[in-house]
């Protein structure tokens, strides 16, 4: 059962990745091109020789982007299926479709939105190559912290539910998440490596496009996986009742 849900999750992730790729081509690539044009202009002004192209821009924006988003989509879809396998009927009392939508919403907030507020996506030429290690470290610290806090907050809400009711329990859990993440956003060091002359409009559009790509991906995975899982789980239940009827 878990294996077939995992496979379905990865397939759903690939389809969602195709949709996200379409979105990325239309809204993301123009911003990447503008950022690279800025980078080249700066290098030229500084009298630096242009960097040799290991992979052509056309490949980066086409096959490379497609590969990146599809592999990412398949991975998120697979992890989604594993989380779903644990949560369904255990943490969530909703049916498969409702559970999948809630996981997608929680995942988008905890994995994408909240970490992005502190360390947002940045186009080429924003970001110093010498600080890549520190920036990568901080990015993953924030990511892990957000996911761990989200899991703990959901656990807290579940624990409070029998005594205080669902409404109050979810307010308490949600507050716990917001407070811990606010402290993390306050305490972790800022990263500000935007070049002085870089267009604020390009930066904004790039970041909105990046969030849009993730929103498309997570929405598509949540909705499609729910439908696919419901069919699979109901099919199993149907078969079991047939077996039971036959053995009686």
């Amino acid at each position: 059962m878990v294996g077939s849900l995992l496979l379905r999750g990865m397939l759903v992730g690939i389809i969602a990745g195709l949709l996200a790729f379409g979105f990325a081509r239309v809204f993301g690539e123009p911003q990447v091109d503008r950022a690279i044009a800025f980078e080249e202009q700066q290098a030229q002004a500084a009298g630096e020789a242009p960097e040799p192209e290991l992979v052509s821009r056309a490949t980066q924006a086409g096959l490379g982007l497609l590969t990146g988003i599809l592999v990412y989509g398949a991975s998120i879809g697979g992890l989604f299926a594993l989380v779903f396998s644990y949560v369904q009927g255990r943490v969530s009392g909703f049916g498969p479709r409702g559970t999948a939508v809630l996981i997608a919403l929680a995942g988008f907030v905890a994995i994408i939105l909240v970490p992005e507020f502190k360390y947002p996506a940045s186009p080429p030429s924003v970001g110093n190559p010498e600080t890549i290690e520190a920036r990568t470290g901080l990015f993953f610290v924030m990511l892990v912290m957000s996911v761990a806090t989200a899991v703990a907050s959901i656990g807290l809400a579940k624990r409070l539910m029998p005594q205080h009711g669902a409404w109050n329990a979810w307010i308490a859990g949600g507050t716990a998440y917001v407070v811990v993440m606010a402290v993390a956003h306050y305490a972790l060091p800022p990263v500000n490596e935007v070049p002085e002359q870089f267009s604020a409009v390009v930066l904004w559009n790039f970041r909105v496009a990046s969030l849009g790509i993730q929103a498309v991906l997570w929405t598509a995975i949540g909705l499609m996986f729910g439908a696919v899982a419901e069919r699979k789980l109901v099919e199993r239940r149907g078969r079991q009742s047939v077996v039971r009827a036959a053995s009686h």
């Binding site: 059962m1 878990v2 294996g3 995992l6 990325a24 993301g28 690539e29 990447v32 290991l54 992979v55 490949t59 980066q60 924006a61 096959l63 490379g64 982007l65 590969t67 990146g68 988003i69 592999v71 990412y72 398949a74 991975s75 998120i76 697979g78 992890l79 594993l82 396998s85 644990y86 369904q88 009927g89 255990r90 009392g93 049916g95 498969p96 994408i112 992005e116 360390y119 947002p120 996506a121 940045s122 186009p123 080429p124 970001g127 190559p129 890549i132 290690e133 920036r135 990568t136 470290g137 990015f139 790039f206 496009a209 990046s210 790509i213 993730q214 789980l233 109901v234 199993r236 239940r237």
Partner: protein, 69 residues
């Protein structure tokens, strides 16, 4: 009669943890390795000695929000 009418629709039973665990460990590791290659290989850390993977998935890495050069 009303008891039957108000009964909630039966939900699928939870999948036993024993069945889930091996998939979660091996599948989870493999999937996270895939994300690593898209998101971080040949950036802060490097398993392969080239810049090809980095350059190939370059646009995806930026647009998916991973830190990049």
């Amino acid at each position: 009669m009303s008891e039957i009418a108000l009964k909630p629709i039966a939900l699928p039973a939870p999948i036993p943890v024993r069945e889930l665990l091996p998939w979660a460990v091996f599948g989870g590791l493999m999937l996270m390795l895939m994300i690593y290659f898209v998101g971080a290989e040949e950036g802060a850390t490097s398993l392969i000695r080239s810049m090809y993977v980095h350059e190939f998935v370059h646009d995806g890495r930026h647009l998916l929000g991973f830190p990049c050069h």
